[in-house]
Structures are given as structure tokens and as C-alpha cells.
């Protein structure tokens, strides 16, 4: 096999990277360019501001400073690990091109190695883009030492990808290919949010104990006994531009990644048939039949719920959006015990519940409306468009409203009025987000669920702004400022009306 040219290693790697980053429709190229230009300016602006501070900063390499930097690196590493795990699962299961590639003259080992490399490039690029403005600014300012951030971050991406591949392999070996797909996605999301959840878990403690724990942690940080040149601080020193540490860091990252990629390739080469032949489980034939249930609306809702419930990958992706609701449970659990809630807390929780239920409704609306598997079938049925959309909206909003109802009930135990405003706001936000999804639908496939926000910029932006407005209104009302809540409420309704006016007309 050649390295360059058609049929070579780099050709396949180029194809892999192109697929990893190709997410949007060509028809939206104009909007994409504008957005990229805007993001580029933001990255450069933020980078310049950060570089202005960093270029004059000469950190003392004391153990507490190195420990703080290590904690920051660990935080980014968990995000990268989660990203790598999800990307590795995508690359193996979701793309659906293994049949083609494994039947090509490329050796299976090459195909899987390139795939592992593609995951690493994807993870590294995502984070390198974020700090690109900083690196460019540092170079312009002549702060060469800080440019070590670039290679150190690439090293971290390689470590994280290696870790992600090892975890995926371990799952594959222990629970098999079918369960690995879902488990890896769920684990990836939890790992990505682990630091956030760990910080929030302290909310379970009463206030005095929380303060004690924080003080104790600070004391321990200040009394770190490990010397600054300890291997424990190697990543931190590499990020701070210590040349020796950087060399050891990047070489170790390469070794870990190469070992993981090698194992990944061997493992999947031998088990590729198991992945490719993943079919549905078959049920034994039963001559009995259950009666049909009728009703146009009910049929639509039932169908949507069945399809979502039977797609574990999709279901896990939808439910993982709720991960950030967990801290809310921590707060409620503690507050219901010690009664230390104040109006501001109710406002915050009401706003969060409204935002999360709207986000869930928007996701479900995308699944029921945009990712309809048989659009011609429902379009050919004797149902008017309005009823059809209403059925799909109901299927999307009901689970979100139910979830919000549970959260609102928890809040109502402490303050009934705050609970009432929370459920009202959450339902309004969910219906609005669902409606925007219905009005600005863009056909997509269920397997592309995670990439859906890029499918329709209008829907995404519209849903975001309307949700923010409703979350604000809910938060204000729940914190006892119902009069003020009218302002964001009116803004939300105005936005909704504007989005309704600009809805797409049928072909």
C-alpha cells in the first residue's frame, strides 16, 4: 500500500476527515460562511484578550500553581475523552461504510487505523480551533514560550483519544457489539460532564459542611508536598512551556495513542463481521394478535413514541440532554431538607427547568417532524397538514411537559407558587420550541440526530432565543417577580409570531 496518492493511506485519511467534518447542506453555504466568519472573529477577539494577559504572565512553578493547572488540564481531558468515545462509536457504527471500505483493496488493519487517526484529528482539531485565536495572538506578541500550549493540547487529544479507544474496546469485549454502541455514547456524555457533576455533587452537603469541605480542599492544595518536578506535574509543566516536559508529554501521548490504535485496529479487524452483521433481535412467532387501536392523532403519537423508545441510541442521546438537570436534583434534595431556599434559587431552578424541557421538546420535534422515516406515507394520508403537525407536536411536547411536571412538583413541595410558574413556563417553552421545529423543519435522518442543530440554522437560532426568553420569564415569575416576567414573555411571543410568519410553505 502506498502512503500518498489515490488508494494510499493519506487518501483514506483525507476521506475520513472530510466525512467527520461534513455536516451541513450545500444550500446553506452562504449562512455557513457568515457564521464561520463571525466565529473566527470571536475566537480571535477572545484569543487576543487572553494573550494580552498571558504574554505578561510569568507563573511561579510552585506545586499549588501546578496543581491548579493540572486540575484545568484534567477538566479538558474529561471533555476530550467523552468526545473521543462518542466519535469512536460513530466511526464504527453510525457511518455505515465499513462494508464498502472492508471490501476495497485496503487492508482491514489500515481501514481501522485510519479510522482511529480520524478520531484523534477530529478531537484535536475541535480544541485547536478554540485556542487558535490565542496562539495567533501570542505569536504576534512574540510570547513564544506560551506557544507550547498548541503541541501540549495535541498531546492531550492523543492521550484522550487513546483512552477513548481503550474504553470502547473494553466495552466491546465485555458487553458485546450491540450494547457497546449505546453504552459508549452514554459513558462518553457522562465522562464529558463528570467534572461538572462532581463539582455540583457537593450541593448534597449542608452549607456548613460544604464550606468546611472547600476550606479543607484549599488547605490541601496549599500544602501539596509533591515537588514541582514530580512526574505528576509533567502535563502542567508541558503546557507552561517546559521544553523537556513537553517532549516527554508528546512522545508519551504518541505511544499511548499508537498502542490504542494498534489494539483497536486488530480487535475490530477480527470482529468487523460482528459489527456488520448486527441485525434486529427476532421474536418468536405467536399466532395470537392483539387488537388494533385507532384514532388518527393517537396513531401518530403512538407511532412516534414507539419509534423513539425502540431506538436505544437515539433515546440515550435525547436523555443525555437531561444530564445537566442532575445538579438541580442535588439542590432540591438538600433544600427540601434544610429549608434554606430563597426566591433567587426558585427563579434559577424554574428557568433551568423551562430551558431543559424546551430543549427536550425541540429534540423530539426534530425527530418526529424532520426525521420522519416515511414522509410520503403521512403526506399521502387523508389528514390535513395542521392535524398532522399537531399530532407530531403533541408527541414531542408531552414527554417534555411530563418531565417538567416532575421537577415542578419537587419545587412546589417547597414553594407551591414557584412550582406553578415553573410548570406553566416549561410548558410554554416546550410548545414554542416544538412549534419552531415544526415550522422550520429540514429533512434529516434519525442517525444524524446529534448533528441536527446544523441542519436548520433558523430553527436552531429561533428555538434558542425563544427558549432563553421563556426561561427568563419563568425564572422571574418563579422568584416572585411575575410583573417583570411579562417583558421576556412578550418577547418570546413576539419571536414566536415572527418565526411563524416566516415558516416554510409546502412544495
Amino acid at each position: 500500500m502506498t502512503i500518498r496518492g489515490l488508494g494510499g493511506f493519506l487518501f483514506l485519511l483525507g476521506h475520513e476527515i472530510r466525512l467527520a467534518f461534513r455536516t451541513r447542506h450545500d444550500s446553506q453555504r452562504g449562512a455557513r460562511l457568515w457564521l464561520l466568519a463571525f466565529l473566527g472573529l470571536v475566537i480571535l477577539g477572545v484569543g487576543w484578550a487572553a494573550a494580552s494577559v498571558l504574554s505578561k504572565f510569568e507563573p511561579a512553578l510552585t506545586p499549588p500553581v501546578l496543581l491548579a493547572i493540572s486540575a484545568g488540564i484534567a477538566f479538558v481531558a474529561t471533555l476530550m475523552l467523552g468526545h473521543a468515545l462518542i466519535s469512536a462509536t460513530d466511526a464504527v457504527y453510525t457511518r455505515g461504510d465499513l462494508d464498502l471500505l472492508l471490501s476495497s483493496p485496503f487492508s482491514p488493519w489500515t481501514v481501522m487505523t485510519v479510522r482511529a487517526l480520524g478520531v484523534a484529528v477530529q478531537v484535536a482539531t475541535t480544541y485547536m480551533v478554540m485556542i487558535s485565536g490565542l496562539l495567533v495572538s501570542l505569536a504576534i506578541m512574540g510570547a513564544w514560550k506560551w506557544l507550547a500550549l498548541g503541541p501540549a493540547l495535541i498531546g492531550l487529544a492523543l492521550f484522550a483519544t487513546g483512552g477513548g479507544l481503550f474504553v470502547a474496546m473494553a466495552l466491546f469485549a465485555t458487553i458485546g457489539p450491540r450494547a457497546t454502541r449505546v453504552a459508549a455514547q452514554v459513558l462518553g456524555a457522562f465522562v464529558g460532564a463528570s467534572i461538572f457533576l462532581a463539582f455540583q455533587s457537593q450541593q448534597l452537603l449542608p452549607r456548613e459542611e460544604r464550606d468546611d469541605a472547600a476550606n479543607e480542599l484549599l488547605d490541601r492544595v496549599l500544602q501539596v508536598r509533591a515537588p514541582a518536578d514530580s512526574p505528576f506535574f509533567l502535563p502542567a509543566r508541558a503546557f507552561l512551556g517546559d521544553a523537556d516536559a513537553l517532549l516527554v508529554w508528546t512522545v508519551s501521548a504518541l505511544i499511548v495513542f499508537a498502542a490504542a490504535a494498534f489494539w483497536f485496529s486488530r480487535r475490530f479487524t477480527s470482529d468487523a463481521a460482528a459489527i456488520l452483521s448486527l441485525g434486529p433481535k427476532k421474536r418468536a412467532f405467536d399466532v395470537r394478535t392483539r387488537p388494533f387501536r385507532g384514532g388518527v392523532m393517537a396513531s401518530l403519537v403512538r407511532k412516534e413514541w414507539r419509534l423513539i423508545a425502540r431506538d436505544p441510541v437515539l433515546l440515550s442521546q435525547v436523555l443525555l440532554q437531561l444530564i445537566y438537570m442532575i445538579p438541580l436534583v442535588f439542590v432540591l434534595y438538600r433544600s427540601s431538607g434544610d429549608g434554606e431556599m430563597n426566591a433567587g434559587m426558585f427563579g434559577l431552578m424554574g428557568g433551568v427547568v423551562a430551558a431543559i424541557s424546551a430543549s427536550l421538546a425541540a429534540s423530539l420535534a426534530w425527530i418526529t417532524v424532520s426525521a420522519e422515516d416515511a414522509p410520503d406515507l403521512v403526506a399521502a394520508a387523508p389528514i390535513d397538514r395542521r392535524s398532522l403537525e399537531l399530532g407530531k407536536l403533541a408527541a414531542a411536547v408531552a414527554p417534555a411537559a411530563l418531565l417538567a411536571g416532575v421537577a415542578a412538583a419537587g419545587i412546589a413541595r417547597v414553594d407551591p407558587m414557584a412550582g406553578l410558574w415553573t410548570i406553566l413556563g416549561a410548558v410554554a417553552a416546550s410548545i414554542s420550541a416544538g412549534l419552531v421545529g415544526v415550522w422550520h423543519q429540514e429533512p434529516g435522518a434519525r442517525k444524524d440526530f446529534r448533528r441536527r442543530p446544523k441542519a436548520s440554522w433558523t430553527a436552531q437560532l429561533g428555538q434558542s432565543f425563544v427558549t432563553i426568553a421563556w426561561a427568563g420569564a419563568t425564572g422571574l415569575a418563579a422568584s416572585g417577580l411575575a410583573g417583570l416576567a411579562i417583558i421576556p414573555g412578550v418577547i418570546a411571543l413576539g419571536l414566536l409570531l415572527a418565526l411563524g410568519e416566516s415558516r416554510r410553505k409546502p412544495v
Binding site: G279, P280, K282, R283, F285, D286, T289, R290, P291, F292, R293, G294, G295, V296, A298, S299, L300, R302, K303, R306, L307, R310, D311, D373, A374, D376, L377, V378, A379, A380, A381, P382, I383, D384, P506, V507
Partner: protein, 257 residues
């Protein structure tokens, strides 16, 4: 025309039907009549406008101009009334992978508001006729291409449409399944249904269709029974000869951008 189906109205009457996609004219002032109770084959080369025509009849595309009458129902004025008595089966089966065959039929019956007891009896009958009864509780994602096509056909028939439109219904099916589908379609026609099908398999049109229409560049260039078409083209010609003669002679050049 009103919602009630007229007794002596043709199953399908198209008058001046037109549809363009940008500069590309897909259907050009098409006039077409299909009689009640006949199996009508619509032939034409790729891109001739067959599928676009049927999609407009099924209510999936808005025509730019023209009239569509289905058993006397004006499909443009009363799309729901028209949809109630029609069924559309595209070349790619419209199924839900995660639903079982039984649940799929339950859903389709629900969309067409077929009474549940009637729908259940019909579902069982159709699945047995199409040899899918043993697979009724299996999800469609595990079905072969032929099984998917049969499940979709069962869905199209569950509300007993008066007009059934099928786009390439036999493509990709093995001989045994193709025979099952053909038998079922002929049985439906014997029972009074009207069927319009598009096909590239000329043998199917030759053996099954009462009348054949040949469409090219969105316009009907010939129509009649097989014998009439052969007479028109010349003695001793097969349908394939007739088809090639008509479609190559009348084909207009593609419009340039």
C-alpha cells in the same frame, strides 16, 4: 366535482397537468384518462415524468397548472376526499424500521381512519396472502427488500383504495415474490379496484395491463391496448420495439441552463 365519488366518472382524469422544477419541465400539459376497474401501465424512459405525475395525483406535489379528478373528486379542491380513496406506493417502500409489520399496518389503518375491527381482519388477510403472517411481529428493519415491498403493499391496500398507484412495484423482487405481488394486484383489479403502475419491465406491462400509456418529456405520446400500440407502430413489433420507437423519436433535447 364534489367529495362524493361520481358513478360514471373515470378513475383518473388529468387535464392540462403541468409541473416544472426550476427550468426543468417535468410534466407538460398532460391529459390522461384511466377507466375505472382497469390496470393501466405508464411507461417511459427515466426522467419522463411518470413519478412526478403520480406524486401530484397522490397529493404529494402541488401542480403548477391543470386539473386532477379521481372518481369525480377534484383532488386539488378536496385533497382529503381524494386521498381517502387512493393509495400510493413508491419504488422505495415507505416503512418504519422499528415497527413490526403488524404495528405498521395498525398505524396506516389509523391514518386512513379504518375502523379497528375491519382493519385488523384486513391486516391478517393481507399478511397471509403475502406470506408475511409468520413475520407479523418482527420489526421491518430485519426484512429483505421483497418483504419490505410486500409489507408496504399491504399498508397501501389496508383501506381498500379505489385507485392504487404503484411506482416500479416489482423492482428488485425475486421471481416468487414478484409473482405474489402480481397475483394480488390482478385479484384487486378483478374485485373492482383501479391500478396505475409505472414499470421498466415491459413484460409486466405486456402481460398485466389493460391499457398502456407511454410518456416522454412529461407528455403522453401514445396510449392504447398492446394490440393498438403494435398496430400503430407496425405489424410484428414487440412492446419493446414500440416503446423504443416512440420514446427515441419523440424525445426532445434537454433544456440548457
Amino acid at each position: 366535482m364534489n367529495a362524493a365519488t361520481a358513478v360514471n366518472a373515470p378513475a383518473l382524469a388529468l387535464r392540462g397537468l403541468a409541473k416544472s422544477f426550476g427550468d426543468k419541465r417535468a410534466v407538460a400539459n398532460l391529459d390522461l384518462d384511466v377507466r375505472a376497474g382497469e390496470l393501466y401501465a405508464l411507461l417511459g424512459p427515466n426522467g419522463a415524468g411518470k413519478t412526478t405525475t403520480l406524486r401530484m395525483v397522490a397529493g404529494l406535489l402541488q401542480p403548477d397548472a391543470g386539473e386532477i379528478g379521481i372518481f369525480g373528486v377534484d383532488a386539488r379542491a378536496d385533497p382529503k376526499g381524494a386521498k381517502r380513496i387512493t393509495a400510493w406506493l413508491p419504488d422505495e417502500p415507505m416503512l418504519y424500521d422499528k415497527l413490526t409489520a403488524w404495528e405498521y399496518l395498525e398505524f396506516v389503518a389509523g391514518l386512513w381512519a379504518v375502523p379497528t375491527k375491519v382493519a385488523k381482519a384486513r391486516a391478517q388477510e393481507l399478511l397471509e396472502l403475502l406470506d408475511l403472517w409468520q413475520h407479523k411481529d418482527e420489526r421491518c428493519e430485519g426484512f429483505s427488500r421483497g418483504m419490505k415491498q410486500k409489507a408496504a403493499l399491504a399498508g397501501a391496500l389496508i383501506h381498500e383504495p379505489k385507485l392504487l398507484m404503484l411506482d416500479e412495484p416489482l423492482t428488485g423482487l425475486d421471481a416468487a415474490i414478484a409473482r405474489q405481488v402480481k397475483d394480488l394486484l390482478q385479484q384487486r383489479v378483478r374485485n373492482g379496484a383501479t391500478i396505475i403502475l409505472t414499470t421498466h419491465i415491459l413484460d409486466v406491462a405486456e402481460r398485466m395491463a389493460h391499457r398502456i400509456g407511454i410518456i416522454t418529456d412529461g407528455a403522453l405520446v401514445a396510449e392504447g391496448t398492446l394490440a393498438e400500440l403494435q398496430t400503430r407502430a407496425g405489424v410484428g413489433m414487440s412492446l419493446e420495439d414500440v416503446f423504443l420507437q416512440l420514446t427515441t423519436n419523440t424525445r426532445r433535447p434537454e433544456p440548457t441552463a
